[in-house]
């Protein structure tokens, strides 16, 4: 049995999630964009990935705190090095998981 309020919630969440995903591909694809905008969009992936990862690696157990010597950050260094050296996505995922699993066991 699904609650009526829950359905309203899900429709609302679905819409506000879908619209930002939909609007740019619907409006921008097939258009010639100015040079600065193409350069800007070209830089966005590097910026977003870094902006997503770094706070996640540094975040402490409570919101608003930073932790430097924690397994997820320490494991990130060799994992990053492995990615730089091999440029293998699958390999990096496996190495990262393995190192993290070991780090959790040891620390």
């Amino acid at each position: 049995m699904i609650d009526k309020h829950y359905i309203v919630l899900i429709i609302g969440m679905g819409l506000v999630t879908y619209i930002p995903r939909w609007l740019p591909v619907a409006a921008l694809s097939g258009r010639e964009l100015p040079l600065w905008l193409r350069q800007w969009l070209d830089l966005i992936p590097a910026a977003i990935l870094s902006a997503l990862i770094l706070p996640a690696l540094l975040a402490g157990p409570t919101p608003g705190s930073l932790h430097f010597l924690q397994p997820k950050l320490l494991v990130a260094l060799p994992t990053f090095g492995f990615a730089l050296k091999t440029r293998s996505l699958g390999g990096t995922v496996i190495i990262g998981m393995l190192l993290y699993w070991l780090a959790e066991k040891l620390i």
């Binding site: 699904i2 609302g12 930002p20 992936p45 994992t79 293998s88 998981m97």
Partner: protein, 235 residues
């Protein structure tokens, strides 16, 4: 068709590994918050956005109102605006129906994998759509499974909760295609950490990446001016 699906699987498996781990965890959490398996499935199908689904469940169990949850979801998922814009360049000539189906599957993970593949010139829009839908099915399936049986799987087994972090690290490496990109990544990372401490909620990701990318465009300008208008950085 078969070929497209196979290539999709080859590209999507790191995403799926991560989604299975997080999806199971989500299912368990939602079930503990007294959300039924049918409701879990409905949310995963209609929303398909990991972090905001977690936030919604925790807000629901703390008694938050519908409007507050929807507003938070909007803020958390606004970053897809940037990802969708970056992907749009590679989706020329597709019809609106196709684009609308594609847009449904844009997440942090599918965006990062598809964009990397597009940039390597080994990808076409059909491959990208396959990655989106394979990842989507994986997410829906594992959240449902988590709702049924998640409590039997020990948390953190085999370092599985590190799968997505490792994937993002490698995708970041792929994006570092020159000094400007390295500079932008460093600026974005530092800003993001600072903003995450100062600003409540998830908008720090957008603020940090937008600012860093503008600084990057500015740096390209300065560099081109100093090399007397040689448009070496036309990317």
């Amino acid at each position: 068709m078969k070929h497209v699906l196979k290539q999709g699987f080859m590209a999507a498996w790191p995403i799926c590994t991560g989604y299975i781990a997080i999806g199971l965890a989500f299912g368990v959490l939602a079930q503990q918050a007294r959300i039924s398996v049918a409701e879990i499935a409905l949310m995963s199908v209609c929303v398909f956005a990991g972090s905001s689904q977690f936030i919604a469940v925790s807000m629901l169990s703390s008694g938050a109102g519908i409007l507050a949850i929807i507003t938070t979801t909007f803020m958390v998922n606004l970053r897809h605006l940037l990802m969708s814009s970056s992907l749009a360049i590679h989706l020329k000539g597709r019809r609106i129906m196709w684009l609308s189906a594609f847009a449904y599957g844009i997440t942090d993970e599918t965006f990062a994998v598809n964009l990397t593949k597009f940039q390597q010139n080994t990808w076409n829009p059909s491959n990208a759509l396959a990655v989106n839908f394979i990842s989507n099915l994986c997410w829906i399936g594992s959240t449902i499974l988590g709702g049924y049986a998640g409590q039997f799987i020990p948390p953190g087994a085999f370092g599985i909760d590190y799968a997505l972090i490792a994937m993002f690290l490698c995708l970041l490496v792929f994006q570092l295609r020159g000094n400007i990109f390295v500079a932008v990544a460093i600026i974005a990372g530092v800003l993001s950490v600072c903003f995450s401490l100062l600003i409540p909620g998830n908008s720090y990701v957008i603020l940090a990446s937008v600012t860093a990318a503008f600084v990057g465009v500015f740096l390209i300008r300065i560099k081109n001016q100093s090399t007397d208008g040689l448009s070496a950085e036309e990317t």
